[in-house]
Subunit: 342 residues, 2 copies
């Protein structure tokens, strides 16, 4: 099995690997317009905060292609509606808004309609490339925190599939592995959408990194038995005081890690850092379809008509976070100062 | 839908409801011999520590029926092999061994082969009845800890389906509901085998007790947002110092509850208390089939050939347990004294 390109601009379309089909099938989708991209993000065919940022940028480039405008103002007005559609897909990952803002700035700087489309495409490609560079850099910094012989727990998927690059949390693990460190990974399945079991397990298997798959209920058991040396996760939004939103269940792992004296690291590019919010309780938490909880792969697992909660993210307060690993270096408490410095 | 009888002696056979088929189908199995009972316990067609105790007792009664022996010694020797087969099904729930010991004592006390079979059946029925009485008593004690308007989190299924009686943790919830207290329950799904989503949700729905189904990953989120007033769970074995083995993931909930200042209660009959062990790390933890993790309802959720861990239980150290609710009253720290007193 060759390594998939998560997202790629191919002759006027955007090709993505459909992450809802993994690991059973490696299905590629060619998205021809920005509305297709918005649907793909909403349906989590492409997911993970950094990947959503890259996808949104390409989405704007697709939207720009579709615009037939006589004037700059007309073009910018249509582009705003493209941007608004993409912005309305998912609320929590700040990379989405960060990428749209970068794309909008480029559009506003170019005064020529003919050049706007190519400038926007160029910017999307730049975001893509920079994103991968950031992954590799932060993975290098993170790998220094991983000792030889370590067993590392991760939650959800913060790998290449989530970042459209090298991975953040899984990037740290990959870098440590590439340095020749003998490591083992505990992958929790990450209900409801099983990104750990489906995506992280698939990526680690492809990389030849040894791992054990567990359910989310088993994390505390293995932490309490001294079987885990550190935890590394990604993030969807990190705010000024260091509080981090990430996939639901991350907070559980963080509390269990601290209770057992195990370091808990968050790995994310600076595009995930949102200094405009001062505290994690200001981060909007997406509530998703109850079906994600009541069915698994089309199989119903709960009685009909039950009430379900399905918050897609939780917030880990900064006091549980041992370090935040970015492409500009490793931040530690007090994050209110260290993040601003980076 | 009428309420199922979880386990019942019906004209020389034992009728159980097959819990692996719930909530999709209400399937009853008639077990004709002790080997069928051993398989049903091993395959978790009947499960939950107190229910396993009752099932083991009926298993011995079934086995006794099958024995053709000329002498007391011959009978007792055959009965030992019945007992050994049942004892080898599942290692963690102490109720299994407790029930087998009670049955063996009865057999040894009766010196007449002809009377042994009826004495053993009578003892199994007595265990069944006493078990239900214990449930009702402890549920009454536990309900006193539940305030009007409380939201209660539970894990796994410690309901009628698990105890073959009124329920322990769910019994406490039922009793509070029957007292007219306005309560709401958070039911976590309890991977891998989804006893929360499948069984507790089904029971609460039948009882008309309002609840919200969540994945195991969401517990911390709702605890940290002040949405849960207390946690009540069952137990598979409670040892002398108050450490309690229960379904995998219980320890996670206990740590998260303490971190958020929420009381964490364990509800179990005295048949679950094992004073012969001094500490929870002596409790044998069953490791089950990896397939339970990699597939859900027959649907594969992880790549082929991955390494899986599947401990079925974890141990919650006594310092996380606010109280242990039994049919003889509510024990609190120091458990080493309070449990012995009960």
């Amino acid at each position: 099995m060759s390594k998939p390109k998560v997202i790629e601009w191919v002759s006027g379309k955007v090709r993505i690997i459909d992450k809802t089909m993994l690991p059973q099938e490696e299905v590629y989708l060619d998205l021809a317009g920005y509305r297709d991209m918005a649907s793909a993000i909403r349906e989590m065919r492409i997911r993970g905060a950094p990947a959503i940022g890259v996808a949104a940028a390409y989405g704007v480039a697709l939207g720009a292609q579709e615009i037939e405008a006589g004037s700059t103002d007309e073009f910018l007005s249509s582009l705003r509606s493209v941007s608004d559609t993409l912005a309305a897909t998912r609320p929590t990952a700040v990379n989405l808004f960060w990428a749209l803002e970068r794309m909008n700035r480029v559009a506003e700087a170019v005064q020529d309609v003919a050049r706007m489309k190519s400038a926007l495409l160029a910017e999307a490609k730049r975001i893509d490339v920079e994103n991968e560079e950031a992954d590799r850099k932060l993975s290098g910094y993170g790998a220094e925190l991983i000792g030889d012989g370590f067993t590392i727990q991760t939650h959800c998927n913060a790998g290449a599939l989530a970042t459209a690059g090298y991975g953040t949390a899984v990037g740290v693990i990959r870098a440590a592995h590439e340095q020749g460190k003998r490591i083992h990974v505990f992958v929790d399945e990450t209900r409801p959408l099983l990104q750990g079991a489906r995506l992280t397990a698939w990526e680690l298997k492809q990389e030849g990194i040894p791992f054990t798959l567990i359910t989310d209920t088993m994390t505390g058991h293995f932490l309490s038995r001294g079987r885990i040396d550190c935890v590394v996760v990604g993030a969807d939004r990190i705010v000024a005081n260091g509080d981090a939103a990430n996939k639901i269940g991350t907070y559980n792992v963080a509390v269990l890690a601290m209770e057992n004296g195990v370091p808990f690291y968050v790995a994310a590019p600076m595009s995930t850092v949102d200094l405009s919010l001062s505290s994690g309780d200001q981060i909007p938490i997406e509530e998703r379809d109850p079906e994600e909880v009541t069915t698994i792969g089309g199989v119903r697992v709960a009685p009909q008509g039950v009430k379900v909660a399905n918050p897609a993210f939780d917030v880990t307060p900064h006091r549980y976070i041992s370090a935040i690993i970015t492409e500009r270096g490793v931040a530690r408490e007090p994050y209110i100062e260290s993040l601003r410095k980076l």
